[in-house]
């Protein structure tokens, strides 16, 4: 189990380095810091994951930070864990989950992906949704918020607006939008996004009434 975690740590490091292949400066420093992943030099367990910072597409976070490509990669990892859980369930003739459930998070943890947890994944689902549904808009938002020096919380909040615009264009049915996208369909629609979509539908209805369309 300890061995598995160590192997996994190296895989994660490799994933982040591959994003940085043709960028040599600072590599030593980054490596030093990343060798301390999982445990610190004193042998104590590292308490929590490095916080996310707003990065441009393709940019790797330096220092004790994680970038947004890495955040989105975690969603892809969860999808892979779900698929593995589904294969096992079907093989055993058991109920087969269609979404990333508690069972999948538990499986991910047991498989050594201790850096994945439910509150974190749920917290950023709508950001991942924007990335899936309109990568160009998502990328542009990241560039703008990075340039302005905004923190992750501000970027996360800002993801709602372009998302709701997409939902509105497609008839306010957020469930249909999630379900019809192969990578998004495995995630529960976040409550706040559902509420925003519904409010927007009501606003549109009121607007069209006041303009006389329904009179």
């Amino acid at each position: 189990m300890v061995a598995m975690e160590k192997k996994n740590k190296k895989q994660r490091k490799r994933w982040r380095e591959k994003m940085n292949d043709d960028d040599d400066d600072d590599d030593e420093k980054v490596e030093d810091e990343e060798e301390n992943e999982g445990k610190n030099i004193n042998g104590g367990e590292r308490q929590r994951e490095h916080p996310f910072i707003v990065t441009e597409p393709g940019e790797v976070a330096r220092g004790k930070k994680n970038g947004l490509d890495y955040l989105f990669h975690l969603y892809e990892q969860c999808r892979e864990f779900l698929i593995r859980v589904q294969v096992i369930a079907k093989d055993r003739g058991e109920k087969c989950p269609t979404k990333v459930t508690n069972q999948v998070f538990r499986y991910a943890k047991k498989a050594g992906a201790s850096y994945i947890n439910k509150p974190k994944m749920r917290h950023y689902v709508h950001c991942y949704a924007l990335h899936c549904l309109d990568e160009d808009v998502s990328n542009e938002l990241r560039r703008v918020f990075k340039e302005r020096g905004e923190n992750v919380g501000a970027w996360r909040q800002a993801c709602y607006k372009p998302l709701v615009a997409i939902v509105t264009r497609q008839g306010w049915d957020i469930d249909a939008i999630f379900n019809s996208h192969p990578r998004l369909s495995i995630w529960y629609v976040p409550t706040k996004l559902r509420q925003l979509s519904h409010s927007e539908r009501n606003n549109a209805a009121i607007a069209s009434t006041s303009v006389g369309i329904n009179c």
Copy 2:
């Protein structure tokens, strides 16, 4: 609320009578008994629903009994309650159930359908499944078990065998079978039926191995 239940009682009586339109004998007696539905003559609440008996297709149970057409009708009623819950949920922008959930059973009860409850509906789901998937086989089984004078429990048990035969013919994927049928897809696959389907797949795999197909 009391008024709603009374109206509902009359609707249920009417449904059972319409099955019996061109069969006049005993009508008075049946009516007398059915007037006591819900409450008895002493004003106390009736304790439980009349038990089911094995009836032929089209046959109405006499006396303090319910027939199998009525049982299957309860599944259709649940479907209607689900649809109403779905309309309300969508209108409010809330999460929309795709299955008959606790929420739907609660709604049915509040709507006056106190004769619908979860354990009962779950108990007979596979019988309803056979009725949906092969009505001819289902009807024939009812006739045979009625003629033999078998009780409901024996009929219920007997429904598994022809169902598993159907599942086997279609590749042992009970979830796919339920999901692809419009009236069945709203019901959870019963655990025992899932297990039987899986066992049958294993049996088939072993059989084909011993015959040399996989050697």
